[in-house]
């Protein structure tokens, strides 16, 4: 699938390492100086950073807009595969997303299915991390465990599912929100290579913007969902309640600053 260049066939090509460094940044991207600092730890010199950033920008894999950001990721690159997996895995929640939007799934079923599928996805992803490790690639295995589960796209999808269940319908926001494009991950073909274009719309801060525009949250619905969770998982919720209580007590007893 796709063409691999000489660079991509190397284990740690400079281009791939630089893309990984930039991929770690949030929507604000990374400044040249920051990239140089990170790259130095990887043994890449400042002149090499400058040279390869230019190449990557020319190839439209990175874009330069004051800072360097990801424009496209070649699917041969491991982090693109991890992030694409996190998107395709969300099909696990298709039925919940639809049914919750129509208000036709009872809370008990929603809570049971939601928690079951998040758990399945977490364990599946972690096991894949161990699988990569068993294939003599512990670095990649570690990245599956640290980065392939609970991605921003997944958390945004879960937020939408839960929001629909709380309100019992698809909720119209009180005000419009301006979103960057693309609105979904896109797959593009260029010169025989498949590229994944990450969705700029889903970025840190989106959830806060959406929550700000929600109609008042019905407290009684939150309480009902919490009760369902408690009934299904009494021991587990007790542990979590105690954790919250501990933090709350500690905060109360601590001097406000």
């Amino acid at each position: 699938m796709g063409r691999r260049t000489t660079f991509e066939n190397e284990y740690h090509p400079i281009e791939e390492k630089l893309v990984e460094i930039v991929a770690r940044s949030d929507c604000r991207g990374l400044r040249f100086g920051d990239i140089v600092d990170f790259a130095k730890k990887e043994g890449i010199s400042k002149p090499s950073v400058a040279r390869y950033l230019k190449i990557l920008t020319h190839k439209h894999i990175l874009k330069k807009d004051g800072t360097y950001k990801l424009a496209m990721e070649a699917i041969n690159w491991k982090h693109a595969q991890r992030s694409l997996f996190s998107v395709l895995a969300m099909h696990l929640f298709d039925d919940l997303f639809e049914k919750a939007g129509q208000g036709i799934i009872i809370d008990k079923d929603f809570v049971e299915l939601f928690t079951k599928r998040v758990g399945v996805l977490a364990l599946y992803t972690i096991l894949e991390g161990f699988n990569k490790t068993s294939e003599n690639n512990p670095e990649e295995g570690g990245k599956w465990i640290e980065e392939a589960f609970g991605t921003l796209i997944q958390k945004d999808g879960w937020r939408m599912c839960v929001s629909r269940q709380i309100y019992g319908e698809i909720v119209t926001l009180m005000g419009a929100i301006k979103l960057d494009t693309p609105l979904r991950p896109e797959i593009e073909l260029a010169d025989g290579t498949l590229y994944v274009r990450p969705p700029s719309a889903i970025k840190p801060g989106l959830a806060g913007k959406v929550l700000k525009e929600l109609p008042p949250i019905p407290k009684e619905r939150l309480k009902l969902l919490r009760t369902c969770l408690k009934n299904l998982y009494p021991m587990e919720t007790q542990v979590l309640d105690e954790a919250l209580d501990l933090i709350s007590n500690a905060a109360d007893q601590s001097k406000g600053r």
Partner: protein, 47 residues
């Protein structure tokens, strides 16, 4: 998703189409613009 023999032999066009068609709906946001009727309707998809 099953990778077909065609893709293994090298049919990136087909692979791209299959991947694009496989993006989960819950990983897709609606198109919105500020202060338009269309935007108001599209806000639904964000929740």
């Amino acid at each position: 998703m099953k990778i077909t023999a065609d893709q293994k032999k090298g049919d990136p066009q087909k692979a791209a189409a299959q991947l694009n068609g496989s993006i989960a709906k819950v990983a897709t946001l609606p198109k919105t613009q500020l202060k338009t009727r269309e935007a108001k309707e599209d806000q639904k998809g964000l929740t």
